[in-house]
Each structure stands twice: as C-alpha cells, then as structure tokens.
Amino acid sequence: MELYKLTARQIKDLIEDKKTSPKEVAESLISRIEATENKVKALCLVDKEDIFTQCRELEKRSEHGPLFGIPVVIKDNICVQGQDTTCASRILKGFKPPYDATVVSRLKQAGAVIFAKANMDEFAFGSSCETSCYGATHNPWDLQRIPGGSSGGSCASVAADETVMALGSDTGGSIRQPASLCGVVGLKPTYGRVSRYGLIAFASSLDQIGPVTKDVADAALLLNVIAGSDIMDSTCVDREVPDYTKSLVDNVQGVKIGVPKEYFSEGLDSQVRDAVEKALDVLKGLGAQVKEISLTHTDYAVADYYIVATAEASSNLARFDGVQYGHRSASPRSLIDMYKKTRGEGFGEEAKRRIILGTYVLSSGYYDAYYLRALKVRRLIKEDFDRAFSHVDCIITPTSPTVAFKIGEKIDDPLAMYLSDVFTISANLAGMPGISVPCGLSQEGLPIGLQIIAKPFDEEMLFRTAYTFEKNTKWHKEKPRL
C-alpha cells in the first residue's frame, strides 16, 4: 500500500483500525520525499530524527486527537520551537524560535506530526516561490514552471504527495493561487478565524494561516484544529468554531452564487475562463442559482494592496536588524553601519523593493496621498463585497488568471508578477474567506483552480459548495506524474 498517496481521512481510518501506525506513515512519506524532492524542492528542512521522535511520543499517547499521526508540513514563516524558521530569507538564517506558533501547538496537541518546513517566497513576498534564499520550488506538474506563491512549497509538497497536509499563509492569495497552480485545495480563512501568533508577519491586517490539502474534507479537518480564539492574538475573534466536517454535504440546492463580471475581463486566459464556466454549469446543474454581480472597485485592488501590504511590511520587517537574532554583517564600523549592511546583505531583491515602497508610502509628506487614500479605497472594496453578500451566498471566480508560468518568466517584471494575484487580493483586503479547488486541466496538462469566496465567518458555505463540486467532478483525483 502506498500510504503517501492517501488523504488524512483515509490514513486516520487505517490508524484507527490498527492497519498502520504513525511511524509507517512517516516512513512512506520520507521515502517519497527522497524520490521526488530533488526535482520539486518544496521543502527547506526535513529532520528525520525529529519526525521519528515525534512518532515515538505519539505512540505513548492514550488520547489520539483528530490528526493523530498525520504528517503536516509547515510553511517556513510559522514558528516551530527549536526548528529553523527563516521565512526563506538570509536575514533569518539559523533562527530557532523559542516558542511554537499557536497553530503549531494546536497541531501537536491534535496528534499531528510536524513534518518539514516548506519553501516560500522570501517573507511571503511573491507569487512564484522563486525569491527564496534556498532557490526556487518547481511545479510538480511541470518542473520548468513555478508552483505559485508564496506558499509554493506547501502546495507543491501536497501536490507531489510529499506530505498529507500543509499549512500556508495567505496575505494576497498566497495559499489560493499556488493551490490553484498545483491542483490542490487551499483555504484562506476569514481574517480573525485563525490565530496569527507565531506567524512571522508580512502584513498584519491581511495575513491569515490556512490549510493546504488534497481534498476539501481534509481542509475542514485541518481548519477544525487550527481555528479559534487565542489570548495571544488581539485580532483573533472569540467566536465559536463549528465542526466544519458537518458542512461536507453534497448539496448546493438553492445556493445563490454570484459571478463578478469584473473578473472575466481581458487578462483572463481563455482556458481558465472555459474551465470556470464549466464548473459553474456543474453547480447550476446541481441546483445552485448563478447570477452575475458587480464588484465595482476590483480594478483598484492590486494598487490598493501594494500600498497597504508594503507599508505594514516595512514596519514589521524593521526588527530584522542583527541585534537579537539572524544575520549580522561582519565587523560593522558603527551601529548605523551594522543596520545598513545587515539589512542590505540579508534581504533579497523583492524584499528590498517592498521595504522601500512601504517606507516611502508612509514617509512624511506622502502618507495622505498613498497610505490614507489606500485605507479609504480598502473600505470601498470591502463595501463591494458587503453589498454583494446581501443577495448572494458565495462568489465564484477563477483563482488565478493563468495557469502556472515558466520559472524566470516574470522575475524581472514585478508589476506583471503583482498582477498574478489580481483575483485573490480583494478577499484579503475585505477580510473574507476564500477557497481554491481544482476545476480543470489546461491543454498542457496544468491545473486550473476555482475560487469560492463567502461572507466573513461563513467557511461552512465554502466547504459545502466546494465539497459538492468535488463530489461531482474528478479534478481532485488528477495527480502530477513525477
């Protein structure tokens, strides 16, 4: 039996029936990693010894927990105590957090095996997983192509069956876009649904941690474990967490789906358009009501995002200065020299670009013109969604305007790169939950993703719609040939 191919629910059943053990699952995945990782390069740290230590500890446990023995890969911007957590940046090389992120301690409590750290765009700045200090991650479907980003390592490792599940983080589409390009399920929860404590911040008002899985049911299982209030995060909402697996019903009868016309414009690849339209037909055939809606300010979202996100990032990343942890420039002449050299040497090109942009939009004389205006436009974007949700239950769009592009194709054109998040960014600005599920393959055999967005804290609607779609299609069963 090839355990590594299974979903978390399948493995759970086998373990419960004593047909396998956490150790056997781990061994199967480690041999898979050994076979594929040199091609995919999705992971930046795999500590086999630590994995087996965790398995031994698990076997001593009397209470199993909902993720007992399930390997979960953690994006490299989420703190795991004592394990290198670097945001794929030189500036944090060797950094071992003295604490676990809240999501990580919840996973450990649920019996999950913290399996590996996933590669990413440096500090989650990117949509291609090319800006990592460890080098690019490759798309398992076509190794010449990017897996998407910034949670490229999380999505590629799930797509390549190197792990059962993964955690990613999503600031402007960083879970959903790579999930779409890698043909897996990726969910960005409502802002405030999952604790950010221990997630190394990119843009605090936009960041959310979320699941990357092989199917919708696993995403519900993983969200059940990580969601819920946390005394360590003021922005994490104290609100009951429903059992999301209860939303896994094969029924969209009467669900009102809005399709925003602004998302079906020029930049959209025709193959992606076709796949999404077919998906809508499937849902319509199952009893959903599909209607066109308008999200008027969609065209301003990318510009708005690059002000809000970089401003917050410039401040969040100020702490990387060589004083307490991470890289420090060798023999600086003075304190200022230490700051400048440490940061000059430690940050990659895209990080520098965003730090400069974010510093600029907050600087004296420009705040009102850029940052304050961006906060106002952000309200307009959110109000678009509020209006839409007054008469629809969810919104369906393509996740990404194109399928995976070639490695290197956009690396020197940052603006083109930024525009690859055009469909995912609005949900972050408005704080809405969104999920990407596979909905087709292009002629070249590359995955296409369908994005479903719901009202704040209505992840149940996402699961219901996504699950029904999955039950009635075969796309999630497609696997890359590696």
Partner: protein
C-alpha cells in the same frame, strides 16, 4: 522617489546598481498605483481593521518569562547576560 532618503530611513544599504534598477521598477509601480487617484474618496472613512473588534484586553497577571538561554540562544553577539551591539554614540 528620493531613494537615497528612503533607504536611509529603512536603514538598508543598496548598491548603485540596485538603486538604479529599483528606481526604475518603483516608478513603474508608483505610476500604476496612481490609478487610485481616479476615485473620489473625500467622504470615505479609512478602514484599518476589517473586523469590528474592540476592547480586547489581557488581565494584569504575571506570566513566566523566557529562560536566559532561550533569550540569548539566537544572539549574533552577547556579553554576559546582555546583547552586544556596536557602541551607540549620542
């Protein structure tokens, strides 16, 4: 953009090559961002939190601090129980 000034504010050294490349790219990005000026936002309130959350407190209770080895474990340079940096001259 005065890249000299902004990189000084950000305490980040840039090579001349990086400066000229960045200046070009950033001016493209800023030109794109200009599109926000098309919108009349004079009556719109800024939105910095998407959630209507308020009054999230913790109680005034002491929680254990980190042991010293964990505090200093990652330090690039230390002296005794303190972090060490090039002298701060006032």
């Amino acid at each position: 953009m005065d890249i000299e000034y902004v990189s000084q504010l950000a305490r980040m050294e840039l090579t001349d090559k990086q400066k000229s490349k960045l200046s070009k790219q950033l001016s493209d990005i800023l030109a794109y961002i200009e599109k926000l000026k098309e919108l009349d936002v004079s009556t719109v309130q800024p939105l910095s939190h998407v959630l209507p959350l308020k009054n999230v407190f913790r109680q005034d209770k002491i929680r254990p601090s980190l042991p010293l080895n964990k505090v200093l474990n990652n330090a690039p340079s230390r002296e005794g129980d303190s972090f060490s940096v090039p002298k701060v001259i006032e």
